[in-house]
Symmetry: C2
DNA sequence: CCATCACTCAACCAGATGGTTGACCACCGA
DNA sequence: TCGGTGGTCAACCATCTGGTTGAGTGATGG
């Protein structure tokens, strides 16, 4: 599994609110599947699936204690994400500070007709 | 749109390798849809869709310059992720250093029969 | 003014995802 | 040894995702 694939899995794993909540709770303490599932109104199987996704992403590991399968957070994987994010954040911020880029933006302001976040539709029916 | 939803969108947006690559390239410089699409062997429409996902996640904004739609990286959203990640990473690391937790782990070592990352199947057909 | 450029929108498709239920399995305790 | 506990596996379902092609749009420029 290469780094791109690992990054994809980790980001995808954390894209789900239930899974983020599981991670948040596991940051405080290890827990069994049953304990983890209790607060949610979905089936135990669904939570078990979520944990599999987290495990495949390397965010979590499971050991065995009698019938129980205690789940443990592997926080090191966070580094992978943080590094990726920080790299491009800093690159973008550094670029923002550069003079020629500032000139580009100023020049852009002239030729640009407007800046839009809304869609084109909304403005059409204003005619 | 609440914070949970925003987090979900940002993580989901970055779960795709093509989208991560787009972000990486936009960290270096703004670009048009055509420029961004050129390196990939997918259709322009597919890239346009990817950019919509990034825009909905707040990672990117589009303005207008004649027929062109220059795409600009909005690096501030990265903060949202970084904050979330760092919170639980630190919590997990802090917990790891605590003494009583260390004792828990030592005690766990005794009752635990084995630690496994592989599935149960693999061991069954070893009989 | 109309052809062209740079896109976006719409419809469709295959495969992934998140949920369900039912069967199954490992292990403990009586 | 056998019922109960804790959890996984399998099959199925609806919805989402990433891709396609084809048609449509808005501004430019000759």
């Amino acid at each position: 599994m290469d780094e791109q694939d690992r990054l994809s899995r980790v980001f995808a794993a954390l894209a789900d609110p239930t899974r983020r909540d599981l991670v948040a709770r596991l940051a405080a303490a290890d827990a069994t599947v049953g304990e983890l599932a209790a607060p949610y109104d979905v089936s135990l199987q669904a939570v078990s699936k979520h944990l599999k996704v987290l495990e495949d992403a390397g965010l979590v590991s499971r050991s065995r204690d009698a019938q129980r399968r205690p789940v443990h957070l592997e926080a090191e994987v966070f580094d992978l994400m943080t590094k990726w994010i920080e790299r491009y954040r800093q690159q973008a911020e550094e670029r923002f500070r550069r003079l020629d880029d500032l000139l580009d933006r100023m020049q852009h302001q002239q030729t640009e007709t407007r800046t839009e976040t809304e869609t084109d539709q909304q403005r059409e029916d204003a005619s």
